[in-house]
Amino acid sequence: MRSAPLLCVAMLGVALSVRALAASVASPLPAEHLSVERLPAKTPHWIYVFDNAFSNEIDSRVHLFDGDTYRRLGQIDAGFNGSVTESPDGATTVIATTYFSRGSRGARTDVVEFTDNATLATTHEIVLPPKRAMTVPNIFNVAYSADGHFVYVAYITPAASFGVLDPAHGTVLGEIDTAGCALVIPSGPNRVSSLCESGRLLTVTLDAAGHEASRALSEPFFDADADPVFVQGIPTAAGFAFLSFLGEVHEVDFTGAQPAFAPAWSLVAPAEKGKWRPGAMQVGAIHRGLKRLYVPMHVGGEGTHKDGGTEIWVFDLVTHRRLARWPMHIDGASPVLAVQVSQDAAPLLFAATDSSDVAVLDALTGHVKHIEKHLGQTPWLMLNP
């Protein structure tokens, strides 16, 4: 509550000066000039909210939203069933999407589009073969290499492979087959891993031309029958964490030539297992500095892995202890389908709900600061480069 009195004082000052102005001004308002708004200086609390627009799916889009002012800052269109990623330097939003020449029919064009985050203008595009993975949003549908020199695009036809693009030159460098494994998990300047039905990771290392130099399969780290992992990986300091349907946490270190697996640990106590479980479209977020994991959790059985979380649970990644449970319904929020957290020292947690709202929480306390109603139709993924 500290800031409220300050705000009031500031407001009062403005209001008084305006009243003084009003009394002294007799001339009419001057003619105005129409302009195009420039974005203010970026803050850590900006978030890119991907709206799949499921009931009008040819019109998916990304809303840039400010978690401090609760204002929309702009929009990036995302076509049919689009996917989104951000460049490592945060300067560029990439949309991988598909257009049809007659809206929902006609000639199909798969394309990767580059939008300047400073102007929200789309600057150029790379046309793909018509193989793009048409699926729900996920950070592994389209991804940058760590140095920004490559963009990887997951292909599913339904045979799985991926495209390697050169964003600087606007070209497709090639396609690499990943039979039995899917999606693009980037690491380092030239490695792409895919999740395999066998519970392994396939890692392809590229040469300077973006062609395959080598590939290797890891040992299995999960069982796709007994307890599959969500494909929605969560960025950690050294790689990604993958949650399983039953709540196991698999942290994978991608800093080496091959992925390394930490011992799995569980989000749920033995008594909770099989009852409380994670579920969402974007099923977790990690504050890498504080080493905290935020997971939407619900009570449900097999097949509820896409049900939203009625609570957000907070874990310490070092101790694996649960720090808090934040029920969402008491603040008027519907079950949570996506979470993201800002990486600054006064972090915000964003929680998108199955009623299309985005709640803004203090990520340290769980205090719900704001609920933005209807930020699109189906906000299913949030990014904060």
Partner: protein, 169 residues
């Protein structure tokens, strides 16, 4: 004419408000729609007094064979549970589910085809995921747009087609 209308108007409108005919008719409509498809379903329960009647309703997300549909029901979009709406094209590739039919106690393998070539139907959005697996097991995944290989690859709605009885594990 005018006075007759007024009379009829007043009586039928006030009657409707008293007896909630609207909801009665809506219920009858749903039952009849279900009934027309029923000869396919050897259910062993009565209509009335059923605690979960909607497991037999092709227009409900709870219909037993929709156990892994994440999308719009074609039966609410001009099709049925096994037919695509007019003007759309079925996907030749599909994902597969295993659903329990409470009517005969059997598990069935069902094919979830998408119907393609028109924009999102937008009606009867369901999100059921029994035995559904992530994208790395595509044949069991409903997050993929299974219209992907159609010449008009836009997703409109989903159907559920019985392939056969699931083998006992």
């Amino acid at each position: 004419m005018r006075s007759l209308d007024h009379l009829f108007e007043t009586s039928s409108r006030s009657l409707a408000r008293r007896t909630s005919r609207r909801s009665l008719i809506a219920t009858l409509g749903q039952l009849l729609t279900g009934a027309a498809l029923l000869p396919l379903l050897p259910v062993d329960r009565a209509w009335a007094g059923d605690a979960k009647p909607r497991v037999d309703d092709p227009n409900s997300c709870e219909y037993w064979r929709y156990c892994a549909i994440d999308g719009f029901l074609c039966s609410c979009c001009g099709g049925t549970s096994t037919s695509c709406p007019p003007g759309t094209s079925p996907s030749p590739i599909t994902w597969i589910g295993t659903c329990h039919n409470p009517g005969d106690g059997r598990d069935y393998i069902v094919s979830y085809n998408d119907c393609c070539g028109k924009t999102s139907c937008g009606n009867c959005k369901c999100n059921r995921n029994e035995r559904e697996k992530p994208t790395y097991r595509p044949s069991r995944n409903n997050d993929l747009n299974w219209c992907m290989a159609n010449s008009d690859a836009n997703y409109h709605c989903s159907v559920s087609v019985i392939l056969g009885v699931a083998e006992k594990k």
